[in-house]
């Protein structure tokens, strides 16, 4: 078991054991280990080590530094603590963040009662959208670009934390030729990401991924998954969100708008998307729509009038 000691760019000391026992996850760009503050072993942290094969790429090193320097404080965003590299241009790169103790959002809602699922998932999505709103309103704005259920953690069954702020995507990085799989998480990727229109990536791109994530959490299935990567990419470009009867209709209409293929047809801000969900959920919960309220009032008034006429006839 090899103990690794690190000093972050902020001068703080961290340690971890580079072994399977301490590995808590892995992704396209690196593996995550459970570590601790060297001076305070009780205070745990998460240490992401970028894979050696990517660490030599200066663009990835820059991306890692950028991710680790995103000191944005929001209750629903993972807190970055710093980064570490022994040499500026080569060797391993580490990104240190707070350790989120919990499970991914899809595991968290998997066993939820179907009747309460929409409300529960919506509640969690409000937090996700609050986190996105915070990222998107930074100066300059930060686009997450890889939002998916496995990047959203839930602590203690209620506190939602959005993770992986930007390094997980290969967008804009030349990685050289790869065979088989790229780095994109195609089942959640908006069309503009697949067609390479990098300049078009904006808030609506993250909201598209949030919409697909929301759909998956409600139904248990990803609407675009299945088949080869090319099949999935094709569906992202052409196939509208398929209707699933486990989603209340007002909510489905909101998701349809969030995942519109044309960016201008989507919600333009995370706050707008959240407000639309809230409205749709209230409708689904039995809150009366304006039209229905008017109808009930008219019927009520007519019934009252009829009752009055009958009473008048009887009296005469």
């Amino acid at each position: 078991m090899q103990r690794i000691n690190l000093v972050s760019n902020k001068g703080e000391k961290f340690s971890y054991y580079h072994c399977d026992e301490f590995r808590i996850g892995s992704g396209a760009m690196g593996e995550v280990f459970k570590g601790w503050y060297t001076d305070n072993p009780e205070q745990k942290v998460a240490i992401k080590k970028v894979y050696n094969r990517h660490a030599e790429n200066p663009q990835i090193r820059n991306r890692a530094r950028h991710e680790a320097s995103l000191f944005i404080y929001h209750p629903n965003l993972i807190k970055m603590l710093g980064y570490c590299e022994f040499d500026r241009s080569r060797g391993p790169v580490y990104i240190i963040s707070e350790l989120v103790r919990g499970e991914t959002i899809n595991k968290s809602v998997r066993d939820a009662d179907p009747a309460a699922r929409a409300n529960m998932v919506s509640g969690m999505m409000y937090s996700v959208l609050d986190a996105l709103q915070c990222l998107h309103t930074q100066n300059p704005p930060v686009w997450h670009r890889d939002l998916k259920p496995s990047n959203i953690m839930v602590e203690n069954g209620r506190v939602v934390k959005v993770m992986d702020l930007g390094i997980a995507t290969s967008d804009g990085i030349s990685l050289g030729t790869l065979e088989g799989r790229g780095f994109g998480t195609y089942p959640y990727a908006p069309p503009e990401q697949i067609t390479g229109q990098r300049s078009l990536i904006n808030a609506t791109s993250d909201l598209y991924s949030a919409g697909v994530t929301f759909y998956e959490l409600l139904t248990g299935v990803n609407p675009f998954d299945g088949g080869s990567d090319v099949d999935i990419m094709e569906k992202q470009i052409t196939m509208p969100l398929p209707y699933n009867r486990s989603i209340p209709k007002p909510l489905f209409r909101v998701l349809l708008k969030a995942t519109a293929k044309k960016q201008t047809d989507r919600y333009q801000t995370a706050a707008d998307f959240k407000a639309a969900i809230m409205k749709a959920v209230n409708k689904g919960n039995g809150g009366l729509s304006v039209n229905l309220t008017v109808l009930y009032c008219v019927v009520g008034a007519l019934a009252l009038l009829l009752l009055l006429i009958i009473v008048l006839i009887i009296i005469r």
Binding site: S174, L178, E179, I194, T195, G196, M233
Partner: protein, 284 residues
């Protein structure tokens, strides 16, 4: 062989190592040109591409007379086995692989073979006559009519290929046989570091840059390298081989359908005109 003028150049681009490799030799089956773009960390990429070029050249040179497509297929299949086995035998090279594009050109015609996203263009003037179709994820979407070639070129996933040489025990090679050519046609073999840097119309213009093949290839390298430098200097390795034909291939194109219709219609009109003339001559 003075029927063909050739020049190949390669540059490292903005990378630490050039993982592209190329080779060219005269064989009894024709002139062989090969370009490979290696992939894999450490020394894997350059080992795979160099090994592939070497094996393909040896394979074609020592092949008995046969169908040119078969000769190329066998040589590339052999290269796949050699690269794959070398990767298996050396842990530091495990997983290495390469793209390959090979042209075997004889007086009869040319044969193109490829695996992955390195390309062969056949250009007449500045017009594209033939081009290999990349074995890549984004080009599958182009084939399905979902995105344009330009969108594919710019996509973040444009580097993901669906076929490679040396990564598996077997390889699926695409062979294009019987490519006919005219005197002055140019064949460009290049890695994605070249074609990925500019729009296709600009690449075709670069191929037609100068009467001299040498100057043209030098200009391709210079132009593409400069594009990379302007974009930050982290650009891919770039390799371009240019072959200009000094003869017409013995096999020529079958007349295409459109030409056949035009000639058919003209023949009928001519026949009617002759009939009318004869009728006029007899009865007036």
């Amino acid at each position: 062989m003075n029927e063909y003028t050739i020049n190949i150049l390669s540059r490292i681009g903005g990378r630490e190592e050039n993982q592209d490799a190329y080779g060219c030799c005269e064989t009894e089956h024709g002139l062989l040109v090969v370009v490979c773009d290696g992939m894999g960390g450490a020394k894997g990429g350059s080992t795979a591409s160099n090994l592939a070029v070497e094996t393909i050249m040896e394979g074609v040179s020592s092949a008995s007379p046969s169908d040119a497509g078969e000769i190329l297929l066998e040589a590339i299949t052999m290269a796949n086995s050699v690269v794959y086995q070398t990767g298996c035998d050396n842990p530091e090279l495990q997983g290495m692989g390469t793209t390959v594009v090979a042209l075997l050109i004889s007086e009869d015609s040319a044969v193109a073979a490829h695996v992955g996203d390195s390309r062969i263009y056949q250009v007449r003037g500045s017009k594209k006559i033939f081009r290999t179709f990349d074995h890549s994820m984004v080009f599958e979407l182009v084939r399905r009519g979902r995105i344009s070639e330009e969108q594919a070129r710019l996509s973040a996933e444009s580097n993901v290929i669906l076929r490679a040489l040396g990564t598996k025990p077997e390889v699926d090679v695409e062979i294009n046989r019987g490519i006919h050519y005219l005197k002055g046609d140019r064949f460009l073999l290049c890695s994605d570091g070249v074609w990925g840097a500019a729009q296709e119309k600009d690449i075709l213009q670069l191929v037609a840059y100068d009467k001299s093949v040498d100057k043209t290839v030098e200009n391709i390298m210079e132009t593409i390298d400069n594009i990379g430098i302007e974009k930050g200097g982290r650009h891919d390795n770039l390799t371009a081989g240019l072959i200009e034909t000094g003869i017409n291939s013995k096999i020529q194109a079958d007349m295409n359908k459109k030409s056949k219709i035009i000639i058919g219609v003209l023949s009928i009109l001519l026949l009617i005109s002759i009939c009318l003339n004869i009728w006029g001559f007899i009865f007036h």
